[in-house]
């Protein structure tokens, strides 16, 4: 791929912070910024004033509480004035993009200590003010034909079931698996296990996806402190290294629905982002080289597709991974051990950063009851828009 950025940025993550994810009615946007940032700086063993630049990821200020329109909304609650802070907005890949931008600035030498913070406060308003409503009220006539987020991915699900013999149960079992993982994560929004029948029997959202195939609407924040690998002080840091970061905008908002060549069987964005990240990280056969993966399971079908797009298996074979329990904790390649978006919820801007924190915690060996034994390399993956934008980050315990 001529477009692939092959240069590896030699960056380490030294501080991790993540709030409880859920309906955080007692915490404001500012409270979430503070909690995650202070956790991360404390974890890195630095003071707030040592942070030299910041990237704030909030995807939808206008459906939240109108906070996060610019970098200002990270600086104010932290009283961190006088440094460059930029808001990053790239749909569901916003959090990962904040990490990418921080890594780039460190690599370019703009700063020596960078903060990437993702936060989304969705539950200060009732969920009726959805993206669909905005589409209907504010956009081009052909958007009024609609599509909820669930509907967008349901179109993929229907076609995949038609082409590859994926069953409704296969899709539901992704949700069953992730809810089991979520029950082990004290930061997750939903901490309960469920059965295939419960997923299938919950109310239909967009055929074939039910409520339990869909992630909840959640508040939360996550933060990482990053430095160049050369600046890691092994006496006080527990670093995790970034081996590769890929981000690709590979379709548009409309294109998939009006392009006769779009097959609704895979996400080109994920393939493109993975190609970039793998090339930087020198990964050839991910299933053999990677120990765990966090994928963007906003709807259960998306995780199934992403197995193939990340190259964990061939096209059409994702169903075998879930049927063989290979992606369950203890399996060949555990996926979404955190519980994924289905259990943790999806505060949009925070999700990408939370996944990086999750993988880093696993690589440090600090994940307690859901620890993947001997995990050395992990991937975090996000996809945003109608499968338009994807990010893949490869993290490594070793330098």
């Amino acid at each position: 791929m001529h477009k692939t950025m092959s240069k590896k940025r030699d960056i380490a993550i030294i501080g991790l912070g993540v709030t409880k994810f859920g309906e955080l009615f007692n915490q404001s946007y500012d409270d979430l910024v503070r909690e995650s940032a202070l956790q991360a700086t404390k974890d890195a063993g630095i003071g707030l004033d040592e942070v030299q630049a910041g990237w704030l990821s909030t995807a939808f200020p206008e459906i939240g509480v109108f906070k996060g329109r610019s970098g200002m909304d990270m600086v104010e609650p932290l009283n961190l004035y006088g440094i460059p802070v930029t808001r990053v907005s790239n749909f569901c890949a916003s959090g990962a993009d904040a990490v990418r931008n921080a890594a780039n600035a460190l690599a370019a030498g703009e700063c020596d200590v960078a903060m990437a913070l993702g936060v989304e406060k969705l539950r200060d308003r009732s969920p009726q003010d959805s993206i669909v409503k905005m589409m209907v009220e504010l956009s081009h006539p052909y958007y009024q034909k609609g599509f909820t987020a669930a509907g967008t991915f349901a179109i993929y699900a229907k076609r995949i079931m038609h082409e590859f013999g994926v069953t409704r149960e296969d899709i539901a079992n992704i949700s069953v698996k992730n809810h089991y993982h979520g029950s082990l994560n004290d930061k997750a929004h939903h901490r309960m296990t469920c059965s295939t029948e419960q997923v299938l029997g919950s109310p239909m959202v967009a055929d074939p996806l039910t409520v339990m195939d869909s992630c909840p609407t959640t508040d939360g924040a996550a933060c990482v402190i990053m430095v160049r690998a050369e600046d890691v002080d092994k006496t006080k840091h527990k670093p995790v290294y970034i081996d590769g970061i890929g981000l690709s905008v590979s379709t548009g908002w409309d294109l998939p629905f009006f392009d006769p060549k779009h097959d609704f069987l895979s996400f080109q964005a994920t393939k493109d982002a993975a190609a970039m990240a793998y090339k930087q990280a020198g990964i050839i056969k991910p299933i053999d080289e990677i120990d765990l993966v966090e994928v963007h399971d906003c709807f259960s079908i998306v995780e199934l597709l992403t197995y193939e797009d990340l190259g964990l298996c061939k096209q059409g074979e994702a169903k075998d991974l879930i049927r063989g329990e290979a992606t369950q904790l203890g399996g060949e390649i555990p996926v979404n051990v955190s519980g994924g978006l289905l259990s943790c919820g999806h505060p949009v801007g925070a999700t990408g950063v939370r996944m990086v924190v999750e993988i880093a915690t696993q690589l440090r060996g600090d994940s307690g009851g859901r620890q993947v034994k001997g995990a050395k390399k992990g991937i975090s993956h996000n996809i945003g828009g109608p499968g338009a934008i994807a990010s893949v980050i490869v993290l490594n315990k070793e330098h």
Binding site: P141, G146, T148, G151, R159, A206, D254, F264
Partner: protein
């Protein structure tokens, strides 16, 4: 000489019977629109297959959706007719449809026009609870009048206007005459004037139609004028199927007569005066009033329809719609006329404009007309999309001659085996309005199962 060159009738998919509307209902039924139809979509649908090269458009309705905008020019724009052609709206009374024939006939005879498109569309809703006492029925007609040969010749097109009307509205307030006064001084006198002035050769007329709610009190006069009522008086067959379709009713009566009877038909279309239209039909192989329809079976469903686009669904308190005339004008070729862009290098057809082809990166495109039928590539049913009835079905369609669109299935409160859309099904694109909520809606395409 003027001829009816071609015509199309467009009827909504639903019928509601008197019995559903009232426990004392009789045996009549009415054609009724669904929430995503209005006079514009019905008119568009009627005009869609008109082939003639139109140089004037006359739009008749008594149920306008625009207060101060010409429906005729709006429709001309949607249809992509020549810019700047004669476009007029007619609509004071339910004889507006035949008014258009009278006007078109004179324009043709004056030589100023060659192919005049007459459109009559009616979507009138009576007051709730008053349905069985009010004449209503939804539908639209498109008819091209031309100097050239046609399906039927218009041998007479005249107006005998009268000041008397039973009830009318003055500055928004209903004004009433004594009904008996209006019928005798109005209808009877007016009919007498028509019959006296015309000196009709009754024997040469095959069928005579008297389009008036008081038709019965005029039968005596027709008889006196020399008509044999038993054989010559045409019954209101259209009314039995559709109800009274207002300004479209006269035209529908004519069309029905042309299809059923060869020879001369005479229509007396009364409302505040009479339009007299005589046509000589060579017969037509079209059958415009036999389309299949679904019954609205419950009064509650009818009330839901009457919300006319107040879209609510689980989780949505209200949805304000956004309709930008700037966007609609700018993108009308794509939005309304289904113009696509074909890559000159690899032949991939895109509905949307693009600077480069997504498949081969060529930047050379040719505008092409997309087909209105296709095959379903994928489909989902959205249960949380704001609409009148859940679910809203979203359909990804590969069009017959290339190109792909993603549209909603037409609204339907009665999902059944016959209208459930699955992958691989053949579907047809139809012009509909998107959600409205008492604001000007966006018009766009939806699909129905073929």
């Amino acid at each position: 000489m003027s001829f009816i060159k071609e015509y199309r009738v467009s009827l909504p998919h639903f019928r509601i019977s008197d019995k559903v509307l009232s426990p004392r209902g009789r045996k009549g039924q009415y054609a009724i629109c669904y929430t995503d139809e209005d006079i514009i979509t019905l008119a568009f649908q009627a005009c869609e297959k008109i082939k003639s090269d139109i140089d004037a458009i006359l739009f008749a309705t008594t149920s306008p959706v625009f207060k101060d905008r010409y429906h005729s020019s709006y429709l001309a724009d949607l249809l992509g007719l020549k810019e700047g052609i004669l476009a007029l709206d007619l609509g004071a009374t339910s004889r507006a449809g035949t008014d258009a024939i009278v006007l078109a006939d004179r324009l043709l005879k004056s030589g100023s026009n060659e192919n005049i498109l007459i459109v009559a569309a009616e979507v009138y809703y009576p007051a709730i609870g008053n349905e069985t006492r009010t004449a209503f029925g939804h539908g639209a007609v498109a008819m091209v009048l031309s100097n050239n040969e046609g399906i039927a010749e218009i041998t007479k097109a005249k107006t005998y206007s009268s000041a008397m009307s039973e009830e009318f509205i003055y500055k928004g307030e209903k004004t009433q005459y004594d009904s008996r006064f209006a019928r005798t001084k109005g209808f009877k006198n007016n009919l007498a004037m028509v019959l006296k002035s015309e000196e009709l050769n009754c024997k040469s007329i095959n069928k005579i139609y008297l389009n008036s709610p008081y038709a019965k009190i005029g039968f005596g006069q027709l008889k006196k004028a020399g008509f044999e009522l038993e054989s010559q008086l045409g019954t209101d067959e259209v009314g039995k199927i559709l109800g009274h379709t207002g300004s479209a009713h006269g035209l529908m009566t004519l069309i029905n007569s042309i299809e059923k009877n060869k020879g001369t038909s005479l229509l007396l279309d009364y409302h505040n005066g009479t339009n007299l239209i005589e046509v000589e039909s060579k017969g037509s192989d079209q059958s415009s009033f036999s389309s299949k329809a679904s019954e609205i079976t419950h009064y509650q469903d009818y009330l839901t329809l009457r919300k006319k686009g107040k879209f609510t669904a689980r989780g949505y308190k209200s949805v304000e719609t956004f309709s930008s005339e700037m966007i609609s004008e700018r993108d009308k070729e794509m939005l309304f006329r289904l113009t696509g862009n074909k890559c000159q290098s690899c032949g991939t057809i895109y509905f949307m404009k693009a600077s480069r082809c997504n498949a081969c990166k060529s930047d050379q495109f040719l505008q092409v007309q997309l087909s209105k039928s296709g095959t379903v590539y994928s489909v989902t049913s959205e249960y949380y999309f704001p609409n009148s009835f859940a679910p809203t079905n979203m359909v990804v369609i590969d069009l017959v001659e290339g190109g792909r669109v993603t549209v909603q299935q037409t609204d339907d409160m009665y999902p059944s085996e016959s209208n459930v859309i699955r992958i691989g099904d053949k579907v047809q694109l139809v012009f509909r309005k998107m959600m409205e909520n008492d604001k000007k809606p966006n018009y766009f395409w939806k699909c129905i199962k073929q």
